[in-house]
Structures are given as C-alpha cells and as structure tokens.
Symmetry: C2
Subunit: 386 residues, 2 copies
C-alpha cells in the first residue's frame, strides 16, 4: 500500500489559468454591481450570507486583518525565492548524479551498438514471467518460427533499431515520425542528456548521436532547453519549480537531395505583361521529426506568439522534458514497452483484444490498417499507449 510522493503534480500553468479566470470574473461582477441596484441588493444578500468566494470573504474582513494577510503574502513571496534556490540545488544534484549514471549509459550504448558483448554475469536476468516465457517458447517450437530467428542469429550486431523502436513505441514521438524519417532514425545510436555547467544559466541539452549515414554529415544533432528557476515578478505565487522557457536547435548538414524537412513543388507563373507561362520550382516546409531541430523562436521582444505557435512550442517543451526525464534514463523499458503507460481505456482495449483472438474481428482491424496508407502498418497497435 504505497503512495507516490513525487514533487507536486499540478502545473503552474493550471494555477495561472485559474487566477486569470477568477480575475475576469471579479471584473464582470463589479461592472454588474455598479450598474444595477437589484444586483447590488442580491450581492448584499450574498455578503450577509456566507456563500462567498474565498476572495470576497477576505474583502469583508476588517482592515487590520487584511493588513496581516498582506504581511503573510509578503512572507510567501520570500518563500518562493527560497524555493527557487532549492530547485537550483536540486539541479546541481542532478548534474552530480548524471556523472554517476554515465558509466551505465556508456555500457548501454556499447551493448546496443555491438561495441561490446555482455558477459554471462552481465546478462543474467530472472524474469518474473519465466514460466510464461517457457510456455511461449514451447509455442514457438510448435509453429516453427524459431528457425527464422536462429538463422539471423550469428550476424546480428547489438540490438538493431533500438532507439528507432522507442520512437515507434512512444506516441508523443511516433506522431512526429514520417515514413521517410524512419530510415534516417535507424542510424540513431545514442541519446545523451547534458546539463549546464555550475554557475551557468540553467539548461540541458539533448544530444542525438548518429552513425555515418547517407542523409547528413553531422554525427551529433543537438537541442538545448533553457530553463528558469525564479518566481515571476508579476505572479510570484505561480512558481512551482524550474520551467523550460526557450529552446535552440542546430543546423543539419543535409547531403544533396536528402533534406526531408523541405519538399520541392512546381509552380506555374504567368508573366504579367507578355502573358507567357513558366514553371518554377519552390522549396516548402515538409512534416518531419527533424523539424525538432529547427524550433519556433520564443519572441524576446514581448510580442506574444499566435496560438498555434504557442501550442507547437508547448508540445516541443513537453517532448524535450520527456526525453530528459523518461526516455534517456529508462530507454530499455520504452524499448520493451514496460514503461509504456496504460491510458484510460486500457480495460476496453484489453477486452477488445480478447474478442479479436476468439472471433474474426482481427481481420477487420488489419483491413483498416491497410486502407490508411499514411499509417505505418509495421507499428504495433498496442505500443501506441504511453
């Protein structure tokens, strides 16, 4: 009987939103009240009654009490600044521990890419499901698919498509990956998280290490996330720890004709005077995971981004955070699927699958998959939970 007690599960943005709503509400209320005597009377009744919001309750308090509440708020701001220092120290700890994890991650990289072979001791693993696996093993013998597996055995180097499989298993990533990205991602050999040096502004970088390939000449693609660990001056109470506030990509040195982030389209142009028509080619942006390395710029001049850009940027920050917090530290569990969370309708899915096994619905499902050419049919349906 355990309860997870990780740091707060609420997001700062939630509380900001709530504050805004509350503020709009109050303004509306004040307008109505000042214009309408009936409303005024109704409000008076509400004040006499106790059906008050906490903030309107505060308004009914004597001045001396309000003054003390203001003093408490001032103390609260001081707490927020101490909390900011706490998170900076946590960041230092994370840097310290990154160094402790690194030798294990290096071993991981070697096993994945076939640079080293685990010893018997290193590969010993007692699965909880050993009996089950034995059963599955018997089954395989029965249906003679093992031959195929054995045939390739001697040549296989490391764990093929390790990182690419993770991209397929994790919804948040597979949504970004296009068919033409796949052969490129198969060259991905490692992802590393690097923290900013002590004394530097708080940030972390994701390093995507690629083997030599026909697509670009970079061996590493990087994405850096800048963070902020200080209470906002205009809204200090919304502070909930470090936040990602900006990010920066890198230039990909695409080989000729291999840039998947643009596509070439042909366009007809008519000469205004002469009326002659010519065809020009034009490069336009193309959907691709590799756009991850050319993020939208956070406007620095106080101008706000449009809603679409804000959404895109928020999604990008979420992905960066997810790489850092989940995928890089526990890659093997995203590869095997053990870390893939069940979503709300897990129960339904499960029952659905049992039905399929017993009846003919499975065939239907496959037809669905084939009828959608964009859908990667090699994507296991059940991996899509995260």
């Amino acid at each position: 009987m355990n309860l997870s007690v990780n740091k707060t599960e609420e997001t700062a943005s939630d509380s900001v939103e709530a504050a805004k709503n509350a503020s709009n509400k109050k303004e509306k209320l004040a307008d109505q009240v000042m214009q309408n005597p009936q409303v005024l009377a109704a409000l008076q009744e509400r004040l006499d009654n106790t059906a008050l919001t906490p903030s309107s309750y505060i308004e009914t308090l004597p001045k001396a009490v309000k003054r003390r509440i203001d003093a408490l708020k001032q103390l609260q701001v001081k707490c927020a600044h101490i909390e900011a220092k706490f998170y900076e120290e946590v960041h230092d700890l994370e840097r310290k521990y990154a160094a402790l994890y690194q030798p294990l991650f290096d071993k991981r990289r070697e096993f994945i890419n076939g640079e080293a072979e685990p010893t018997d001791a290193e590969s010993e693993w007692h699965s909880e499901n050993e009996e089950e696996e034995k059963l599955a093993g018997d089954l395989k013998n029965a249906v003679v698919i093992e031959e195929k597996a054995e045939a390739g055995e001697t040549n296989v180097k490391g764990i093929p498509d390790f990182w690419f499989t993770i991209f397929r298993n994790v919804d948040m990533l597979s949504e970004l990956v296009q068919e033409y990205d796949e052969p490129i991602l198969k060259h991905l050999q490692d992802i590393k998280v690097k923290f900013s040096e002590p004394g530097q502004p708080m940030s972390f970088s994701l390093e995507f290490h690629f083997g030599p390939n026909d697509y670009f000449s970079n061996s590493v693609l990087t994405k850096t996330y800048k963070m902020k660990s200080e209470p906002d001056k205009t809204d200090p109470f919304s502070f909930e720890g470090p936040e990602i506030v900006d990010c920066e990509g890198c230039t990909i040195d695409w080989k000729k004709g291999k840039n998947v982030t643009v596509k070439t389209i042909k366009k007809k142009q008519k000469h205004k005077g002469r009326g002659t028509v010519r065809t020009i080619t034009k490069q336009v942006p193309n959907d691709s995971f590799f756009n991850f390395f050319s993020p939208i710029k956070v406007s620095g001049d106080g101008e706000s981004l449009d809603e679409d850009s804000e959404f895109t940027l928020a999604a990008d920050f979420e992905i960066g955070h997810f790489f850092r917090e989940r995928i890089v530290p526990r890659a093997v569990l995203y590869f095997t699927g053990e870390a893939i969370e069940d979503d709300d309708n897990f129960e339904e899915d499960e029952e659905g699958e049992e039905e399929e096994l017993e009846g003919e619905e499975e065939g239907e499902e496959e037809e669905d998959a084939e009828s959608d050419p964009k859908k990667d049919s090699s994507q296991p349906a059940e991996c899509k939970q995260q």
Copy 2:
C-alpha cells in the same frame, strides 16, 4: 510560454497496476493458446504480421539480442538504485531548506495568532487588482456593511480562523470535517512539518499546534509518515522516488464527554433465560476529522488489507502529502483561495453563478443548502474547488 518541469507526474502505483494487468493478460493468452488450435493459428498470423505488443516483438528476436536486452535490464536496475540515492539527497536538501523557511513560518504564526503585528514595511502589498479593490471598497460604502467591519476592528486579534478557513476551503479536508469538529479546529494555531534527522529512516511529521481548549489537553497532535526510497526487489522498474509506506497517529487526551471520534448509543438487551430487557450504552466510532490521528495499521505480516482499508489508507497518505507539499508551505494562498485549483467544471460553475446573480436561482440554492442538515451552510460553495 512556460512549461512546468517538476519531477515526474506519473505515480508509481499506476505503473504497478499496468504491469499487473499486462501480466494477467499474458497468462490468459498463453492458456488460450495452448488449448485451442484455432487460436494458435490466429496467434501465428499475428506473429507474422507486425501487430505485436512490444513484449511479443521482443520474443521474436534472436537469442543473442535478447541476451543483450537482459544486460540492459540489469543496468536499468542499477540505475534505479542510484536514483534512490539521489532522492535521499533531495530529502537532505529538503531538511536543509526547512530550516531556511522556518523563520518565515514563525513570523507567519505570530501574525496569525496576534503574537506580533506586522510593520508598515512588512505589510506592504501591491495587489494586481488594486483598482478592482477600490471598486469593491466603493461598493461597501454604498451598502453600509463597512460599519460592521469597522466596529470589530479594534478587538480582532491576528487573523481569526486562519487554519480553520483553510480546512473549509480545501475539498480534501472539508470532506472530513464534521460540524462538531469545527469549534475544535478553530483552536488550531499552527501546522508544522518536521523531517526525520539525518541517518534516520526517511519520514516526516505533521504537528498540529492547538491553543488551550475545552476539548483535549494536548497542545500538539502529531501524525508521522514513514517513507521508503528504494526500488522494490520484485519490481525495481516501478521505482519513481520516495513513497509513503506507513503512518502513525497519536493519542488525543479528550476531556470528559468531549471525544467527538466516538458516540454513545443505547442498546436494548434481552436476557436469554429470564426474558428481561435491559438498556446498555455502548461507544461506537463516529465520523470526525480527528480520526486522522488514529489511522488504520498497515499490516506488517504480509497479509493484505481489504479494499476499503486500502482506499482509506491511500486517501490518508494523499492528505499527509498534501499538507506537507502544499498547505503548510503556502498556507496563505489556501486561506485566500489563490491556490485553490479550478476543477474541470470551473466554467460551468462560473456561468451558473452569473445566472444566479441575475435571476432568482440563488434562493433555490440556499434552500438546497438548508435542506441538508449535515451540510455546513457557512461553507462558501465556491471554496469547494481544490
């Protein structure tokens, strides 16, 4: 454009549950497969196809690759143990910072209980809504309610009912508070969080400090939560940081006839032989917030609790965590309502309220409140969001 990047938002219990479901599923599958040749054929088709779960995909891999995956899992367990040490150091940091917050919390306690009066500098506060507050001020003059406020002004000590108001504002707590708990909670003067000493098993205590009162003679009621920061041997991958694993209350020295956690009922007993009837009185448990100090015992002998008890205990752990992480560090924001989160139907509530102001529905709402004697009608309806 910020994104909160606090520690993982997933709970360990979620992933444990997911793992269990997945395991049950596999067992069922194996049973069906071995008994039914048609199912066997269907499964074979599934294997040839790529509609595989990540784990069944793993099963199709050559032995040498599986061996490397096992090596990665072994490394992953080592990572979990390093992570456990990380969280122990975070706990040390929290202890260090608790000492830095304490002077501010002591000041808070003094202002709340009228032990000290803030200076002008200490109570300076520029509200974002100053204009709005001015409007509200004008309004008050108009409806002459200020007189009432001014009248009490000179006598009011500190911030009356500070902690009690927080109990009313926070759903999770107000649900536990009975009408007869309220006069007791009005004597609550402070809540403190104390961390376990360095080198001791990880735990924290909540101290509820009460002023002298007619109900019990304790000046402090305590609740201690024991924590664990180590990966579970049978399920190391579910580790997500320290978890509350047990808790302990304290004995409340109730004054005669004041114990709200029991009630006396009269019961008629019939003598088996003689047939005479006598009336006995019996003490039975009674709903009360103060049951918080007599939690269910976590069974130590490996016997599992029944479902109800597990639920009660999980709710208790959640409350303990909430006091520690949210209420104690930011009490004033729960008093003013600024920290009260909007729940999903905030929008609906808001619209509902506007209608009430314009029409007659308010009266209806009050009737509802009055028709339920258990409902505390002094409880502001809108405070009930959290």
